[in-house]
Symmetry: C2
Subunit: 382 residues, 2 copies
């Protein structure tokens, strides 16, 4: 068989065997995966409807409920990165002209606004300066004014490092008969989080931060109240890949084919959740807190200032003010180039003003803090 | 720090170390990944904006252009499985009330209809019995009747094993001033495919079939003509995660953050494409054809019949008629249980009527055919 058309060799080229530098990932994510997670990732594949894979899917759902402290039946990873899980929550819950109230106090609040709008929501915003959080009374006032179908808040704002307190918000939402949607991308697995006790109706997250897994499978959950709204939709979900009606048939009892799940990513994700369960949430949250405090004290010794008030600081992600006269980008590049340490720059409004330092999952260890502080000290005083 | 709320231990449970059976995946996909691909998958992570990762992204785009035989600048993997890439093509190209003409001759044609409808398209259908293909004259007639903005065809229908000839279709679409959208999920990397020479404007695929990679990163490409339509949109793309305007800023020169790419999946995907480039397309297509012919001859020796006429048969996926009186599902289960060989059952209209046998990527090797035939013979005559 000769090809009917000559093959164009323009883009065929020899490429070297993959070689990646030994980075220590202390930016806003991804973090380095736990070695056991990487090992699981590389296991040989089985089919996406293999009895053995169905069992893995069940284990994942159970362990994910533990990590999120929820009994929601609809709790599983979406086959994409955290942004896909964010989109899944909005695509399924928003019907055209639903009022969605978004608390904006950083980049990811803005993203929620943009996405909800694309699904036809009547989006209302309340805003705070980046790095601050909303108080319960402010939320009550906004609910009173806008009477939304959904209140969307970012628990852990990855662009600012601030932690939105959620105690009492669920009760408030019930009082105003609206659903509570929460972004837990930078909190799940590293920051105290009680979905059921806090009355959260919809949440999403990612795998590559507090859970210490590579990116590619992203937690999603929905309370029975939210599921009722989904069932009562008048219009089809405007997203086939993320349509929960179809996804629940694959992850639930029917086991109907919907799409080919990322098999190896699910192996890895299971292992990451298994590590959470072995360590225990209390221990894990304490570890993240202790590692962060070590960082905060060390930064203060270096004369550096955190952007967020201590009581609202995330243990997973710290924003550090870049001192006047210092070229923040150059410092980050030198850390990467000379010491293989990645930290993040500011995003959006905080661009050029802060560094973002992540201590998440497997990377939340004191030795990483000591190394970073030592390297930072050296690079700042070069 | 004691947790403020007692931790619910209901879903915390000990789980065993991951152990998966040594399946030989000869169903419709996923197939077993090449060992070099699995090795790449497990490499330590770098950040999604690391200079080293940006280089990997460039290599992926180049090698993917070779595999697809296209010069399209917009050519990269979407961060999800094949269904996400399918959704990306429709979400970006369809504006509400655009006429989209879909050729339906299997399950995936129906899926295109469903998805296009969700993005507001005025969907028109032409249909053929499952296992058959459209002739050029039929397509011309349908274009004449419907005058669509987009003609969508499935090149390799995974539910039937039929290959839609595409020679001449691109010219036809230009004559009728419409875009040609092609599903190459089960053809890329295993079946002759010349996107540019055939005038294909939009195509998508998956990683876990002809490319021999795990699922989780899915090829997408768009011609300059299609890109023009995207630029001329009056409405925003109704899907944030898959919005090409945003994705192109990350995969193109700007390198603007959009989402955290699945780092390890991209390592694996690069390695899979590297193997395609090393082997060469001509050699690779011939290998798939030769392996398939070995299967077809062997099936005939066993008295089994293929569902699709020989000239339209895919070398990657063969549908085999289940003989009268044989319990097709039981046979597949015995193959899996006794010999660790996975084959697929029929989907949709062909449910219960056929088995689906895939010989794709790394799995397209004569030894796999011999083993399958031997096992099938034994199981059929038990």
């Amino acid at each position: 068989m000769k090809p009917s058309i000559p093959i164009d060799e323009t883009h065929r080229r020899p490429t070297a065997q993959l070689e990646v530098p030994p980075r220590l990932l202390l930016g806003p994510g991804p973090c380095n995966a736990h070695p056991r997670v990487l090992q699981a990732l590389t296991m040989r594949q089985v089919g996406h409807l293999d009895p053995c894979f169905l069992e893995i899917m069940d284990e994942i759902q159970t362990l994910l409920r533990y990590a999120w402290q929820t009994h929601n039946e609809v709790t599983f990873p979406v086959s994409g990165t955290g942004t896909a899980a964010m989109e899944a929550t909005l695509a399924n819950i928003v019907e055209p002209s639903d009022v969605v109230l978004v608390g904006v106090k950083g980049y990811f609040g803005h993203r929620l606004v943009d996405m909800a709008g694309r699904y036809g929501a009547d989006v209302r915003k309340i805003s705070k300066p980046w790095g601050q959080v909303f108080h319960l009374e402010e939320l009550r006032q906004a609910l009173e004014t806008h009477r939304p179908a959904v209140l969307a808040l970012v628990h852990a704002e990855t662009s600012t490092g601030a932690k939105q307190p959620l105690e009492g918000v669920g009760e408030l939402c019930r009082e105003y008969n609206c659903l509570l949607l929460v972004d837990t991308v930078t909190s799940l697995g590293g920051v105290p989080l009680y979905l059921d006790a806090w009355g959260v109706d919809l949440a999403y997250s990612c795998s590559q931060k507090g859970l210490g897994c590579p990116p590619g499978a992203s937690p999603f959950t929905m309370s029975p109240r939210a599921f009722e709204k989904l069932q009562a939709r008048q219009t089809p979900v405007a997203n086939w890949y993320l349509d929960l009606n179809l996804l629940c048939k694959y992850w639930g009892r029917d086991r109907t084919y919907h799409h080919t799940a990322p098999i190896n990513m699910n192996y890895a994700f299971r292992e990451a959740l298994r590590l959470v369960s072995e360590e225990g949430l209390e221990q894990r949250w304490q570890r993240h807190q202790a590692t962060a405090e070590l960082l905060w004290d060390g930064l203060s010794d270096l004369g550096l200032e955190c952007h967020v008030k201590r009581e609202f600081r995330l243990p997973t992600l710290t924003t550090v003010r870049i001192p006047d006269g210092v070229d923040g980008k150059a410092i980050a590049q030198t850390l990467l180039h000379d010491y293989n340490i990645e930290i993040g720059g500011g995003l959006g409004e905080l661009g050029g003003q802060v560094w973002r330092i992540g201590l998440m999952g497997f990377n939340s260890r004191p030795e990483n803090v000591l190394l970073l502080l030592a390297a930072l000290k050296r690079v700042l005083h070069q």
